[in-house]
C-alpha cells in the first residue's frame, strides 16, 4: 500500500501479454523494488501518465512478487494501458477494497461463476485455493464466454482442470465448428451434483445480468443468498471512500466492496428482477 493512498507508486511494465482481442495482461514491478501484496478480489487504481486513472482488479497470483492486471480496452484510458510495452511506466495506487471470502470458504465446497472478463478478478482465488488445496472441499469453476475466441486464460484453465483438483467447466454462447465443449449459458452448467448446496460458498464475477441469472440458479439449487458473493462495479475516482463516485446505496464500492455478499446488495443492484 502507498504511504499516501492518493499518490500513485511508480511501477514498470516487465511483460505485456496479448490475451484476446482488445485484452492484455500487464505484469508490473515496483520501481522501488520489493513485493506487492494483495488479497484476491482487490483492485488497484492504474494511472496512465497523461491519460488518466482507472480501477482494475488484480488478476495474478497473490503468492508472487510481481503484480498482474488483465485489461480490456473499452475507452481512452484502458486503450492507452493496453498499449503499454515492456519498460513503460505506470502509476499504481492500492490495493483497495474488500476481498473474496477465502477464509469463510475453508472447509466448504467452492463454486466460482465467471462471465466474460469476469474471469480476471476470480483468477487470484484459483491461485490461492490451489496453493492450499487441502483446506477446501470440491472446487468448481463455471465459466461462460461469448465464443471460444473470448475465453480468457483458456490454456491455463484447461491445464488446471486436468491436473490441479479443480473442476473447470467452460461454455460458450456461439460455437465454432472446431469447438467440442459446452454450448449454452453458464447457468446451464450448474448442477447439484457438483457441490453440497448446504456447505458451499459461491463467488460470482461478470456483468450484473450474468451474476443475476447465476445467483437465481444457485438459489434454486439450494445455495442461499448469504453464501453467495459477487463483485460489483461502478464509476470510481478516489478509490478510498472519499469522493462518493462509487456509491451503491449506503455503501461505497471502493471501500465496502467491490466484493459483497448477495443479501447485502440485492436491493441495490441495477438489474430488475433479482
Amino acid at each position: 500500500m502507498t504511504a499516501d493512498p492518493m499518490i500513485p507508486m511508480p511501477f514498470r511494465v516487465v511483460r505485456q501479454r496479448h490475451e484476446l482481442r482488445n485484452v492484455v495482461t500487464l505484469t508490473l514491478e515496483p520501481e522501488a523494488g520489493g513485493r506487492f501484496s494483495f488479497q484476491p478480489g482487490q483492485f488497484n487504481m492504474l494511472y496512465h501518465f497523461g491519460m488518466g486513472e482507472v480501477p482494475i482488479s488484480v488478476s495474478g497470483d497473490p503468492a508472487k512478487r510481481r503484480l498482474r492486471h488483465t485489461i480490456r480496452s473499452v475507452g481512452a484510458v484502458t486503450h492507452a494501458l493496453t498499449r503499454l510495452r515492456k519498460g513503460d511506466g505506470v502509476g499504481v495506487r492500492g490495493p483497495f477494497g474488500a476481498p473474496w471470502p477465502l477464509a469463510e470458504a475453508e472447509g466448504r465446497d467452492v463454486v466460482l461463476a465467471a462471465g466474460g472478463l469476469g474471469m480476471a478478478p476470480l483468477r487470484p482465488v484459483l491461485y490461492a485455493v490451489m496453493a492450499r488445496r487441502e483446506r477446501y472441499g470440491r472446487v468448481t469453476l463455471y465459466y461462460g464466454a461469448r465464443s471460444p475466441a473470448d475465453i480468457l486464460y483458456r490454456k491455463q484453465l484447461e491445464r488446471w482442470g486436468k491436473r490441479r483438483g479443480i473442476d473447470v467447466r467452460i461454455t460458450v454462447d456461439k460455437a465454432t465448428p472446431a469447438w467440442r465443449g459446452h454450448v449454452g449459458v453458464v447457468t446451464r452448467l450448474m448442477s447439484r451434483e457438483h457441490f453440497a448446496a448446504g456447505n458451499t460458498i459461491a463467488m460470482l464475477c461478470g456483468p450484473e445480468v450474468m451474476m443475476r441469472f447465476s445467483a437465481q440458479t444457485l438459489n434454486r439449487l439450494g445455495v442461499s443468498d448469504g453464501r453467495i458473493y459477487l463483485s460489483m462495479e461502478r464509476n470510481m475516482q478516489c478509490g478510498i471512500g472519499l469522493c462518493g463516485h462509487c456509491q451503491l446505496g449506503p455503501t461505497f464500492i471502493c471501500r465496502d466492496g467491490p466484493v459483497y455478499r448477495l443479501d447485502e446488495v440485492l436491493p441495490l443492484m441495477k438489474v430488475r428482477g433479482l
Binding site: 487504481m45 494511472y47 497523461g50 491519460m51 488518466g52 486513472e53 482507472v54 480501477p55 482494475i56 480490456r72 473499452v74 475507452g75 481512452a76 484510458v77 486503450h79 462471465g115 466474460g116 472478463l117 469476469g118 461462460g144 464466454a145 461469448r146 473470448d150 461454455t171 454462447d173 460455437a175 465448428p177 469447438w179 467440442r180 465443449g181 459446452h182 454450448v183 449454452g184 449459458v185 447457468t187 446451464r188 448442477s191 451434483e193 461478470g206 456483468p207 445480468v209 450474468m210 441469472f213 462495479e233 461502478r234 464509476n235 470510481m236 475516482q237 478516489c238 478509490g239 469522493c243 463516485h245 462509487c246
Partner: protein
C-alpha cells in the same frame, strides 16, 4: 408386458422419474432401452420423425441447426441427466434439430409411439409426464432467451466509440 428389472431401476433412478409411483416407472420402462452412440453419431435428424427421445446417462450431445450453405450451428449442448428431444410430444412429431453425440454417449432411449399410446390410455401417466416435461421445456426456453441476450458483453460493445480525451478517475467494465 415383460420388462427388464434393470431397466425399471434405470428409469426409477433418473431425476425426472425418481418420485413417480412404481406403476408409472414400470410403464415408462416398458418403452425404454439403453443405447450407446459413438462420437459423431446422430441421435436424431432435423425434419425426421422423432421416434425416440433420450435421457443422457453419460456424455454430451450437441443440438445443431442446419442452414443451407453454412456449417451446422450448435445451438446448445446437453449433458448427464438431460432430456434430448420433445418433438415426439408435439404433432406432427418432426425433430426440430439434429442431435449429435460429442464423444461416446450412453442414453436411455424411450420409444415415443409406445409412450404416447400408454399416455393416451392412462391419463394419470400422461399428466405426470407433462408435469415433468413442461418445467424442462420452460427452463430450456429461458436459457435460450438468456443466451440471446449476450450476457457476457461489455456495455461499450453496444455504445458509440469513445473519444480519446484526458481524464482522471472513472471505472466501469
Amino acid at each position: 408386458m415383460t420388462v427388464d428389472r434393470l431397466m425399471i431401476e434405470a428409469v426409477a433412478a433418473h431425476p425426472l422419474f425418481r418420485d413417480l409411483p412404481a406403476a408409472e416407472q414400470r410403464a415408462i420402462a416398458e418403452c425404454t432401452g439403453e443405447t450407446v452412440f459413438e462420437d459423431g453419431a446422430m441421435l436424431m435428424r432435423q425434419g425426421d420423425q422423432a421416434e425416440h427421445f433420450y435421457l443422457i446417462l453419460y456424455g454430451m450431445v450437441a443440438l445443431e441447426l442446419h442452414v443451407p450453405g453454412r456449417a451446422p450451428l450448435v445451438v446448445e449442448t446437453l449433458g448427464k441427466d438431460e432430456v434430448v428431444g420433445w418433438s415426439w410430444l408435439v404433432p406432427p412429431y418432426d425433430a426440430q434439430f439434429d442431435a449429435r453425440a460429442v464423444g461416446m454417449v450412453r442414453v436411455l432411449a424411450i420409444d415415443a409411439a409406445c409412450l404416447r399410446e400408454k399416455m393416451a390410455r392412462d391419463h394419470t401417466l400422461g399428466f405426470v409426464f407433462y408435469q415433468r416435461f413442461l418445467p424442462v421445456i420452460a427452463d430450456r426456453l429461458h436459457a435460450a432467451r438468456v443466451q440471446l441476450m449476450d450476457i457476457y458483453s461489455h456495455p461499450a460493445d453496444y455504445a458509440e466509440a469513445p473519444s480519446a480525451g484526458k481524464k482522471r478517475g472513472k471505472g466501469k467494465r
